[in-house]
Symmetry: C2
Subunit: 519 residues, 2 copies
């Protein structure tokens, strides 16, 4: 008769889970032991929980399947919370399996005892502790249902060790129901948006969630073609399809001043899977909402609604019979020569980005020129820092690499950001993932230096607290220490040669790209 751990793994596989990003401990040992009995679940070891959760997020974003982590009690879950925060903002379907002490052990307040439920609820739409092995099959199915939404969400199942090791009875092995359908939007929402689009005033569509990929994006392109509406999307989309031949969509700028420029003159803003735009941070004397005065906001589809169907319906209303969509022309920058800067590095990436690439972008200030330089590159996916919690890039690339073994993954990360979760490189090496990592080494928390300037500049202590130059981080040595080959580049030519090599060779590769910080 199977034990709880076996039932749990069977239930995950039945629910569509295929990979488990794991950093287990003693209370998860029965789960670990059961892995060989259910070959449908691929375990991937991560050396830090923040890598496991970020990898699961990347995997979920690229497959649409429920992603899965295995974490060790409260502290293990806690280490993974920053990237679960990002996954929550990305609406990634993600199930955390968190081990706990046996129920009879909990009252003893052993050293690892903590309030796992409280931690889980800060990022999870659904949290449950299983008390009986016989209830585990049902709880796993409920976790899968909660994670797959719609929209996707983080679900956390807390599994006491004795629930794992106890006999669980025969499982039903009934396939769980598929994910619930997304809610349809009302006819009023479509006709309201259509009226705005036909008003003659400047209209922008703000796309979010599913609307930046697949049929939703295609419909948005037809709407823009039929009406001249501007296509914008969230500053930090979970997974955006872009490149030559696809509708060109501008991401709303991170800095409020930039976003204000993009929205200037817009009289109607149609929300399609996105929330009404707000500033990332507040600043003294400024409001947080970004919608300009005199602009009317129309909600075509909220996050949990079927934004794809809504956009398709709207496209048919404003361009009956199929309007000609706007399409991004194929257009790459020339390979630059000479000085390596954030701008010339972006041109190199734009010139060389391979078709079908999965780009993970945590480049922050060094990434300012990336959208422009890569807009006309061959079709690719772009994954961004949805929740603003640093350390997402390298783990996300792990998950994308596991999800898409036949696609090149390119991780573009700032040096500061990379150091939160650098251990991801080891998992890339262990699993032989085809990830090329570019670390923009400007030796600074550059974005914070901009903010420090805005509040008066600070003195020496303040500036030193945002400075990464002493000692300089040697990313080639760090990568080699985890089994990943790498190269340091100081000119645009060297960077181009290294990027070609990284993309051409299978397996992980790291490029330290020395650039100056923005002044």
């Amino acid at each position: 008769m199977p034990n709880g751990a076996q039932i749990l793994i069977d239930g995950l596989v039945d629910g569509g889970v295929r990979a488990c990003f794991a950093n287990p401990g003693t209370s998860e040992m029965h789960f670990v032991a059961a892995l060989d009995e259910t070959p449908g679940l691929r375990p991937v070891l991560c050396l830090f929980e923040g890598v496991a959760t970020g990898a699961a997020d990347g995997y979920g974003r690229m497959t649409g399947r429920p992603a899965c982590t295995l974490l060790h009690l409260g502290p293990g879950l806690a280490g993974g919370l920053p990237n679960l925060h990002n996954a929550r903002r990305a609406a990634t379907p993600l199930i955390n399996v968190v081990g706990d002490h046996a129920l009879h052990h909990k009252r003893l307040d052993a050293p690892l005892e903590s309030d796992i439920g409280a931690l889980a609820r800060t990022v999870s739409a659904w949290t449950r502790r299983t008390y009986y092995a016989t209830e585990l099959a049902g709880d796993v199915a409920a976790a899968v249902a909660a994670a797959t939404g719609p929209p996707g969400a983080v679900a956390t199942l807390i599994v006491p060790a004795d629930v794992s090791w106890s006999q669980a009875g025969e499982p039903s092995r009934a396939a769980p129901p598929g994910p619930a359908r997304r809610g349809l939007v009302s006819v009023d929402a479509v006709t309201g948006a259509a009226a705005a689009l036909r008003s003659g005033a400047d209209v922008a569509l703000l796309l979010g969630g599913d609307a930046v990929r697949g049929a939703g994006l295609a419909a948005a392109g037809r709407i823009a073609g039929a009406t001249g509406a501007k296509l914008l999307c969230e500053t930090f989309p979970a997974r955006m399809e872009r490149g030559a031949g696809r509708p060109s969509v501008e991401r709303l700028a991170y800095l409020a001043a930039g976003a204000a420029g993009q929205l200037a003159g817009v009289r109607h803003l149609v929300l399609a899977g996105a929330a009404s735009p707000v500033a990332f941070f507040a600043h003294p004397g400024r409001g947080g909402a970004l919608v300009p005065e005199g602009c009317t906001v129309h909600t075509l589809a909220a996050g949990a609604e079927d934004v794809t169907a809504a956009l398709e319906g709207l496209a048919e209303v404003v361009g009956p019979g199929g309007a000609k969509p706007v399409r991004q022309a194929a257009d790459r920058p020339a390979l630059p020569l000479g000085e390596l800067t954030a701008e010339s590095a972006a041109a190199v990436i734009g010139a060389l980005l391979p078709e079908g690439a999965v780009v993970v972008d945590e480049a922050n200030t060094s990434g300012l020129w990336l959208p422009g330089a890569t807009a006309g590159a061959p079709p690719h996916d772009w994954l961004t820092l949805t929740g603003g919690a640093m350390g997402q890039g390298l783990p996300l690339a792990v998950g994308a690499g596991v999800a898409c073994p036949d696609r090149p993954v390119i991780a573009l990360v700032g040096d500061g950001a990379s150091m939160y979760t650098l251990q991801a490189l080891w998992t890339q090496a262990r699993e032989g993932l085809d990830v090329t990592t570019v670390v923009f080494a400007n030796r600074s928390y550059a974005i914070l230096n901009l903010e420090l300037g805005a509040v008066g500049g600070g003195g020496e202590r303040a500036r030193r607290l945002l400075d990464l130059s002493g000692p300089p981080l040697d990313f080639v040595a760090l990568a080699r220490g985890m089994g990943v080959p790498g190269e340091r580049t100081a000119t645009a030519e060297e960077f181009a040669a290294a990027l070609k090599r990284g993309v051409a060779e299978r397996g992980p590769f790291l490029i330290e790209c020395g650039v100056a910080a923005l002044a």
Copy 2:
């Protein structure tokens, strides 16, 4: 007129805070900008929040002063939670300053919005959000009072950005009251323990908290000298004073079988600042309490009570006029030759440990021989993994190095454990801390392999999930990548030479100590 950030820093300094382990972001920028105006607070940049919180824990354990972190909203706090869990278990006085969105920004649900209070309360004895800059001075004083206890505790102050940037009025600069006195134990508690000690039956004292150092430890030594009682302490003391000339105290074993052996035959167990002992983890068919049948438990002093005074009183009762204390004889192992194993490495450490060393121990299975090999070394402090959350060792060493610039700090860490928070090495290099790190590279989560063996051994997938051999981690390269020199050693002689060098040279040094995993 000062703004909130300036008042906050002044209040921390007035409360005795001298160092702030920081990983700031935009919402903390006014705090950063204010650092140069109040030179009494030393900022220490950490590249990951888990390093900041672990360093603060180490600093607090070594100074007794309130330690301090500066963290960026919910995700920043979340990244630091595992080591805050350890700090909570260590009863370290520790104040987290966590920035938050401006109050008027919170309702907008910007990407970094999260429930900071819920996260904080999982580790904090005291959590507060300040709503008005004019109330910040009082809130900081309350945070200091909560953190300093008794006993020490984690306190979290959430500071919205607008509270930091708003004018705060003139501060009173009244010095906050000193920490509250510890509660005295009752006469009954002392006489009960004394009666047990005089009963003629086997008696053990289980020491915890302050009882493993200073006057409390000395009194425990006199009690043992007068009565023959066995001196045990918690498995994971926060800071233990030991070595030649001090009372010898055995740490209760991590594995329940070992602890059962230490407690076998004990008829009276006197708790002095420690809780009644329980197993670290539950296992099928075993109870979690470790007190043997027929043993009576006496509480001399609970954690928040004045255990030092209680032990001194008890010593006077059982040995009037001052009994001769038991003392550990000076005794070091000979320097071993040949094969480098966990056992021979421990002998090398015991042979060479410098007087006054601060030893940080997260060696896990590789550390099995360390207590025996170092018991008779010159006097030193020993800091352990109080809460079981991995990744404590290297950050703790950062904090100990900042706290005790004139003492050698030796961090003994497993390879698996080191990888959770390896970024600590960079801060060691930046601050020029005199830390010698020994990484026991057994290329395995060895302790989990023991547990896997206990549940039946698992198959290839299970074993691979606990294996760190492919690719091998090159810790010398990893250290060099963060500005720390290092050496790999494969024999006992090489290890001894490297340890001598690491201790002799100022500044950080790392030794990769290749050992076999326990079978």
